[in-house]
């Protein structure tokens, strides 16, 4: 096999795994059966020690790397970091990326059929907590015969899942890589999520979440939710650089336009993002995911003491933040680091200078890549790879 450098994993085919035993959830209810859609990249080694689990963020899914068709214009959402010679090097590691339950990209979620009613779950889908994702990911780990991940890696909400793994299944991972994340959301974060939810639920086509039964979609509401979200993923500087006050047509048509007129580039961008999202994402999933985010509190059941929480972990941690990320600010990452130091756990931390706001974790910023590569080098060494 040739060892490619900085390449793509190429064409990947999503797989589906069906679980027919009930999955008990944090809310007390159970999913009677569920599907998980996933992709894998790289080869699992003989002793199954080179597995890496990727946990996705709010609107993420299983398609993290490579392309589905030769003419795909856009690769997977984390193609910048996963592939031959990339930080998550598929020449060395076996990478599993799944669509979480509650999602809308093929894994069982609100758009799936509720076996008890024969209708889409819709708003009746059980509320989920981050730990439910961890438990369903644990079932995936067992399916592959893996007893310990080389690493669990996630950005944003994905980082929250990775940390929860370290507390719930401490023997099941050697490294936990937490990027642009936090131990709990701030009031400001929750406030933005609430605006997004209200945008969706006040859409006339929402029908109390039963829009599929009415053969419609709350597209306006979902688009608005995404537009608000998008502003919080970018930084002020990043927006200024990307759009400035550039006009779409080159000249201002003050007073002559109707409401639908788009004059500034940034308006056009946000509308495009909102519309694209509202055609591909499920509104109930968005509500469910933002609620799971809001309720996440790493240390709640550990006397609200993050150091006590992390005292249960057995893995090493790498924490990365980005200077202009105000959604998950560097201070939130530093709280994670401080708690880990107080718990006497091995931890490294880098704060990357970047203009891209929260979205920076998806972008191959040179220093980010250097730090990521340097840390991953020790994982390779643990596997006995000559470097």
């Amino acid at each position: 096999m040739t060892q490619e450098q900085n390449g793509s994993v190429g064409i990947v085919v999503p797989q589906t795994l069906h679980f027919d035993t009930p999955l008990t959830l944090a809310c007390g209810r159970a999913l009677p059966e569920h599907d998980i859609v996933y992709e894998t990249y790289g080869q699992l080694n003989a002793d199954k020690s080179n597995g890496i689990l990727i946990c996705h963020a709010l609107s993420g899914h299983h398609h993290a790397a490579g392309i589905h068709h030769p003419d795909d214009r856009k690769p997977g959402w984390w193609d910048s970091c996963i592939g031959p010679g990339k930080p998550i090097d598929t020449n060395v590691f076996f990478v599993l990326s799944i669509n979480n339950i509650g999602g809308c990209n093929g894994s069982t979620g609100p758009t799936a059929i509720n076996p008890e009613t024969g209708k889409p779950w819709g708003p009746d889908f059980p509320p989920l907590r981050c730990r439910d994702w961890v438990e369903s990911q644990y079932l995936m780990m067992q399916h592959f015969g893996i007893t310990q991940w080389a690493a669990i890696i996630g950005g944003s909400l994905g980082g929250m899942q990775a940390m929860r793994w370290a507390l719930e299944h401490p023997d099941a991972l050697r490294h936990c890589i937490v990027i642009a994340s936090a131990m709990k959301l701030s009031a400001q974060n929750i406030a933005f999520n609430e605006i997004a939810r209200r945008a969706i639920t006040s859409d006339p086509n929402f029908f109390e979440g039963r829009y599929l039964e009415h053969n419609t979609l709350p597209r306006q509401g979902l688009a608005l939710a995404r537009m608000v979200g998008h502003i919080t993923y970018l930084s002020e500087d990043g927006m200024k650089q990307k759009f400035g006050r550039e006009l779409k047509t080159g000249n201002l048509t003050l007073g002559s336009g109707s409401d639908s007129d788009v004059e500034f580039e940034v308006e056009s961008y946000l509308r495009y993002q909102g519309e694209a999202f509202s055609g591909s994402f499920d509104a109930n999933t968005y509500l469910l995911m933002t609620k799971a985010l809001d309720y996440y509190d790493l240390a709640r059941e550990y006397n609200d003491d993050p150091a006590e929480a992390f005292s249960h972990a057995k893995c090493s941690f790498m924490v990365i933040s980005f200077t202009t990320d105000w959604r998950f600010a560097p201070a939130r990452s530093r709280e994670i680091v401080d708690a880990l130091v107080a718990a006497n756990k091995p931890v490294s931390y880098a704060q990357i200078e970047a203009d891209h706001g929260h979205d920076a974790f998806l972008i191959p910023i040179p220093r980010y890549m250097d730090v990521f590569h340097a840390y991953m080098k020790r994982l390779k060494q643990e596997l006995g790879h000559a470097l």
């Binding site: 790498m318 006497n344 091995p346 931890v347 931390y349 880098a350 340097a374 840390y375 020790r378 060494q381």
Partner: protein, 196 residues
């Protein structure tokens, strides 16, 4: 390895927990981990050094020492080390207070501005000393708080800091009986092992 780093190793106990302030490329912690089973973490601000430390398998936290050590709990380390960084700090005395709060014992190494070459340079040329060891101009230098062996000992006396051990490294990058006798004149680098 830099001689001050070699010199301080016997003062660090097997299996202890070490915080290295300004850990550079991580050489000290990597060596201590290998030879003394020390579990350590470094604080560093330079991106290149942080990457080098990570690549050496050293745990490193991006941190500006001028912000203090408020993130670290009292007595949470057996040893807090700071090599050749004292002179770069905005408030060196406050950082030493913080080191003694966070660590049970501390090691500080710093360039001795009392060395005869510095004195000679200043008295003969009337200009701030520039050398191979300290190559910066006065207006563009990371070194903003030079001190001498005597200055440091006076600070320790003022703060009632115990000096458990001390040594100087001479111009030949080694220890010598003569430099031990006249540390403030012949020591290029001073090395102190201190506690509360």
């Amino acid at each position: 390895m830099r001689f001050d780093l070699t010199l301080i190793q016997p003062w660090i106990n097997e299996g202890s927990r070490v915080l290295d302030l300004g850990c550079g490329d991580g050489t000290l912690l990597a060596t201590l981990a290998k030879q003394k089973n020390v579990s350590g973490v470094g604080l560093e601000i330079d991106p290149e050094n942080i990457t080098q430390s990570l690549a050496q398998g050293v745990n490193v936290i991006e941190h500006d020492l001028n912000l203090g050590l408020g993130n670290f709990r009292d007595n949470s380390f057996d040893m807090v080390v700071m090599t050749l960084a004292l002179q770069t700090l905005r408030y060196p005395h406050l950082v030493i207070d913080e080191m003694l709060r966070v660590g049970r014992e501390c090691i500080v190494t710093f360039p001795n501005f009392g060395h005869w070459r510095s004195r000679w340079y200043l008295s003969q040329r009337g200009k701030m000393p520039v050398s191979k060891f300290l190559p910066y101009t006065w207006y563009d230098t990371p070194n903003i708080h030079f001190c001498t062996v005597k200055d440091f000992e006076a600070l320790c006396a003022d703060k009632q800091i115990r000096v458990l051990n001390s040594a100087v490294i001479g111009a030949d990058n080694n220890q010598s009986p003569l430099a031990d006798r006249f540390p403030n004149l012949l020591g290029v680098t001073a090395v102190y092992h201190i506690s509360k």
